[in-house]
């Protein structure tokens, strides 16, 4: 550690001496909305030196004093430049788009050649406008579904929650919305993500070596940044679709100083279901809907200080009743997320962001039948704080350091049950409190003209503190005993060093080789009793029984841009190892959590995954899109499962192909298509049957040894844009001129699953008939969720 710090500072020092140097720094914003732009390349051609604006649109470039032409480059847009005489440090906020009036789209994310120049291995960025052009399921633009089209990323299954990155589980992805953790990023069993595309500014996925400023997960980081709102003028946009509608209002709090954005979305499946289910039906009253609300405000207190307040609240309400059986189930769940951030510029070389975040995820399940009532609650509440500094000592170094802290409160399961007037003993409601913290330091520096290294260390700590009741299993025939821990009492302390390093080596011809290694601890894991991911899955922290998960990954990639950056291509290989993975023991039941600790029902094992990913993307022109292909293998090994033999993970996929294309036929029409092919998921089915006491029972073979049919699907969409401009007569000059219309609208037609492929959602073994009557039959049945689904959405903006 000490040696590394010495090396870093010596390198910084060596490059800081010499000629007099000056720094140009500031924010890059969009000239029409005033929103900061992430990833603009600020470049001095004569020196061949440049930097990229950070997540807040801030840049800092230190060079020898002198006269320069400074370029502001955005991929797909014209480069803009200014001439400066840099004799001393200069604060220069730049409004992009002012030099060219034909820049029509609001720019939010604009990294040029970042794919080959960045040291981030396995980083994928998606432009939100690009996402919006793709076919949308039921007309609802979905960020998570688009992420799943990238190589190395796959979905659990149609209707499955979350996403899987390089063989990791959905809980191994750090999903951040404006730096606050999102634990459950799905609505309606994963059919829709919680991210409302109208409220989203940028999406960034790191699936390889994550930099040291991120931690707590072993697979990937998905950073979703919300829009800031227009600082110049008020605007409204929205969409009306078949099952949901959304509305966004944005505008200045004070012109050029601050802005707000409010975005709301609601499905009306409940209204449709109410109309479809007659009042006298036993299922009357069954319904489902979700709504979510995004809010963000930002204000520039001074030239050096900006504050941001972000909020998200979303809730799903599912209810099902059958009056014939006096049966009723209600299942609400949802996320509440808040983040308050303060950006402060100490100097042209030192940028600070301080964040205070809150995340609240609650799930509830209530069922009643006749006189039996059952209620289950589960949830997580996090209070977090982060201080992050970015220091730009010179153009060759970017140093980040900071502290990260989260106070977790987990309620894995709180159960109550009553039968008539009898209240059952369901034990003490389990609640686990934890402190998770980390300190990190990383330096991204140019070792030579062509070699850039991002080296970092993260030291993470995790404490499980009381109050807590530990159940100790007494064994068969013996009563359990309990150990009670007092409030604040330290029960378990884990800590460890997490080294991260990645390297980029620029080659001639706009190509580079990148390599990376990362080691991560993960202190919270998701446990699932079912083969399908559900909101009932339980987040569980590390305890003295459940040790923290350890993950390491090594990756190597070759990146090349072709035809003047029109095409981005890459080949990446990776190997990932994971220890202390958790699964429920065989035969565990939800009721087993009662009067027991969830971790007493867990078994522990390891996993590994390796693969190769190919990617080619066309970024400009009438036809844009990408092709991504992944070959991979993912296995798990648990001493207590599958007789200790390794078995494929349920999302082990040998082949995964995505072909995505958008074709702009004219100003009026835009067409897009997405094709997906994936090897079928694995599952465990019974391999034999036997009879006991006249009942036919199943015996299961090797875990996950059966593979479902391959998954493939084609989606198409066509979007018709209304005219953006109208011609008006200038009474003074007598000439007609183009004026932007007050309201712009478009209609998006989309077809999901065009050729009506019956893709497997799950398989089950069905048995029917009476064994003793001789008409008994066993059959394997496949359940398919979605046939061909057309939809239409009207989008508007004024």
């Amino acid at each position: 550690m000490k040696k590394l710090l010495c090396i870093i500072f010596i390198l910084i020092g060596l490059q800081s001496f010499g000629q007099e140097r000056s720094t140009i720094s500031g924010y890059v914003t969009d000239s029409r909305s005033g929103e900061s732009i992430i990833g603009v390349k600020v470049y001095i051609p004569t020196l061949k030196k440049g930097v990229i604006t950070n997540n807040y649109g801030f840049y800092s470039l230190t060079v020898e004093s002198g006269k320069y032409t400074i370029e502001y480059r955005i991929a797909g847009q014209k480069t803009e430049s200014i001439d400066v005489d840099l004799t001393s440090d200069l604060r220069f906020d730049y409004e992009f788009g002012g030099q060219y009036q034909n820049v029509e789209e609001v720019i939010v994310n604009a990294k040029a050649e970042e794919n080959i120049r960045s040291t981030k291995v396995g980083q994928m960025e998606l432009d939100i406008d690009e996402i919006k052009k793709l076919p949308a399921f039921l007309g609802e633009v979905d960020i998570i579904k688009t992420i799943q089209l990238l190589p190395g990323v796959s979905s659990a299954a149609e209707g499955g929650q979350g996403f899987y990155v390089r063989g990791g589980g959905p809980d191994q992805n750090l999903v951040l919305l404006d730096e606050a953790i999102v634990y459950n990023a799905s609505h309606l069993f994963g059919f829709f993500s919680v991210f409302n595309a109208d409220a989203v500014k940028s999406v960034n996925l790191i699936k390889g070596s994550m930099p040291a400023n991120f931690g707590g997960r072993t697979s990937s980081v998905l950073q979703v940044n919300m829009n800031e709102g227009n600082k110049k003028k008020f605007g409204v946009k929205g969409g009306i679709g078949a099952v949901s509608s959304r509305l966004t209002i944005e505008g200045p709090l004070k012109k050029d100083k601050g802005s707000f954005i409010v975005s709301a979305r609601r499905t009306y499946l409940d209204v449709i279901m109410k109309a479809a289910i007659p009042d006298d039906s036993p299922f009357a009253g069954s319904s489902y809907f979700f709504y979510d609300l995004n809010l963000k405000m930002n204000y520039e207190i001074s030239k050096k200080d900006k504050i941001y307040l972000s909020g998200y609240y979303g809730k799903d309400e599912f209810s099902f009743g059958n009056t014939d059986d006096n049966f009723q189930v209600d299942m609400p769940w949802g996320n509440g997320i808040g983040a308050l951030r303060w950006n402060h510029i100490f100097s042209s070389k030192l940028f600070m962001n301080v964040s205070a975040t809150m995340t609240d995820y609650q799930f509830s399940f209530t069922s009643s039948q006749d006189e039996f009532r059952f209620k289950l609650n589960s949830g997580i509440r996090d209070w977090g704080g982060k201080v992050d500094f970015t220091f730009f000592p010179n153009s060759r170094h970017k140093i980040k350091y900071g502290l990260d802290y989260i106070y977790h409160t987990f309620t894995p399961m709180s159960v109550s049950a009553e039968n008539d007037e009898t209240v059952f003993d369901t034990g003490v409601a389990q609640e686990l409190t934890n402190h998770e913290s980390a300190a990190y330091l990383l330096d991204e520096f140019d070792l030579t003209e062509n070699i850039r290294i991002n080296a970092g260390l993260r030291y993470s700590m995790f404490q499980h503190v009381g109050p807590f009741t530990r159940y100790v299993n007494g064994g068969i025939g013996q009563p359990d005993t309990t150990i009670n821990f007092k409030k604040g009492e330290l029960i378990q302390f884990y800590h460890g060093l997490e080294p991260r390093v990645s390297m980029r080596w620029m080659l001639p011809g706009k190509s580079s080789i990148k390599a990376g290694y990362s080691f991560n601890y993960q202190y919270v894991q998701l446990t699932s009793l079912s083969a399908v991911s559900l909101p009932t899955d339980i987040w569980y922290p590390s305890t003295n029984v459940a040790k923290p998960q350890k993950g390491w990954q090594a990756s190597l990639g070759y990146f090349k841009n072709l035809l003047n950056n029109k095409f981005e291509t890459s080949v990446e290989v990776y190997y990932k190892g994971m220890n202390n993975l958790i699964e429920f023991e065989e035969g565990a039941l939800p009721a087993d959590n009662v009067n027991d600790n969830t971790d007493n029902l867990l078994v522990f094992g390891k996993g590994w995954s390796y693969g190769v990913e190919l990617f080619i993307k066309k970024k400009v022109g009438k036809l844009t899109g990408w092709v991504g292909y992944t070959w991979s293998k993912t296995e798990r090994q648990f001493d207590d499962l599958n007789e200790g033999n390794p078995f494929p993970a349920k999302y082990d996929r040998r082949h995964d192909l995505s072909v995505v294309g958008t074709y702009k036929l004219s100003e009026k029409w835009l067409f897009s298509a997405a094709f997906i092919f994936a090897t079928g998921n694995t599952l465990t089915l019974p391999s034999s049957w036997y009879v006991q006491d006249q009942d036919l029972l199943f015996n299961y073979g090797q875990r996950n040894s059966t593979r479902m049919a391959d998954y493939h699907r084609l989606d198409l969409s066509a979007t018709c844009y209304g005219k953006k401009y109208k011609e008006v007569l200038d009474l003074e000059t007598g000439e007609t001129k183009k004026v932007k219309k007050k309201m712009i609208s478009s209609i998006a037609f989309s077809i999901y699953n065009v050729y009506n492929r019956a893709n497997p959602y799950f398989l089950y073994v069905d048995n029917d008939g009476d064994f003793l009557e001789g008409d008994f039959k066993i059959a394997v049945k496949q359940v398919t969720l979605f046939p061909i689904i057309p939809s239409v959405t009207w989008n508007f903006e004024f």
Binding site: L269, T422, S688, N699
Partner: protein, 315 residues
């Protein structure tokens, strides 16, 4: 157009499609299945079969042909070991029809129609006794399988009663009061049959049957005294109208067989009934049913300690 979209959307969300598929399920291996039991005052009975590939036929003749002959089976009560003899339902010793019918759970009339074979002993010295532990030994094809079970101290129901369900006056559930002993593991099994006569003058039900979820342990109510109810497991073919499914009729006379079971037997039966109700359900973990048999065999060696109550269904 809008209506069409609404309808399509709701159909797709509410009604998924199911079809039969042919898919390879690897991992089949033939295993011996031991289905043995012993209860208070009854001889031990052990049925030996073999497991079948999931795609193999499930007709009765396949099942009857799967009975295993030639095994060497013995049961020990801790002091004496008794060898069991092989009997078949279509060839049983005269005079033991009623006992075999009870042991196999097949009506006397059907005994000759079925070819169900088992191993038992008619020596009263090995009939089940409360508090004793019984060890089963099966030697078959050179392999030895052993298992142990205990006939627990019974815990009779404090009270049984019937009450009409909701607004009904003529139909209701069977209710009982249980006083669970504190500070010990207790598990129970509930079985029932109606003994009032049908129009032919025979008891309504020849054998005991189990309602939904017939086993439970005292995890939720250790040491508590409480009332609980069970539904009527008999259906339309047994004379229960669909409108009153799960309920007993005013005037029914039922016998409740309420057995104590040991922890291993409970584990087996709990998982068995869960599998029966959730088999194939993706929301449940695919689980092999644990057993108490050493060696690579399936099944259970179960001791039961029943008590019997007769309930006449009237308010």
């Amino acid at each position: 157009m809008k209506k069409t979209i609404y309808i399509l959307s709701i159909i797709s969300l509410l009604f998924s499609c199911t079809k039969e598929v042919e898919i390879e399920i690897p991992g089949y291996k033939e295993q011996l299945v031991i289905d043995g039991s012993i209860e208070t005052g009854q001889p031990p009975i052990v049925l030996l079969t073999k497991s079948s590939d999931v795609y193999s036929p499930t007709d009765l003749s396949t099942f009857f042909n799967s009975f295993v002959s030639g095994a060497q089976i013995s049961v020990s009560n801790g002091t004496t070991t008794f060898d069991l003899i092989e009997i078949c339902s279509d060839n049983i010793p005269p005079g033991s029809e009623a006992l075999v019918s009870e042991l196999l759970g097949v009506s006397i009339d059907d005994l000759a129609n079925f070819h169900i074979c088992g191993y038992t002993s008619f020596d009263p010295s090995i009939f089940g006794e409360i508090g004793k532990t019984y060890t089963l030994s099966v030697i078959f094809e050179g392999q030895t399988y052993t298992a142990e079970t205990k006939i627990e101290q019974p815990n009779p129901l404090t009270n049984v009663f019937w009450k009409p369900d909701g607004d009904l006056t003529t139909h209701g559930f069977s209710w009982a009061t249980l006083a669970d002993p504190p500070n010990q593991f207790d598990a129970y099994k509930w079985e029932v049959k109606r003994i009032n006569l049908d129009i032919d003058g025979n008891p309504m039900d020849a054998n005991f049957d189990e309602p939904f979820g017939p086993v439970f342990d005292d995890k939720f109510f250790d040491g508590m005294t409480f009332d609980f109810f069970y539904d009527n497991p008999f259906g339309y073919e047994d004379g229960v109208l669909d409108d009153y499914a799960g309920l007993y009729e005013l005037g029914d006379t039922i016998v409740i067989k309420f057995s104590k079971i040991d922890e291993n037997v409970y584990e087996f039966l709990e998982k068995k009934y869960i599998q029966l109700s959730t088999a194939g359900n993706p929301f449940a973990t695919p689980t092999n049913i644990p057993n108490n048999i050493s060696g690579d065999a399936l099944g259970i060696w179960a001791g039961y300690s029943p008590t019997f109550d007769t309930l006449i269904c009237q308010p």
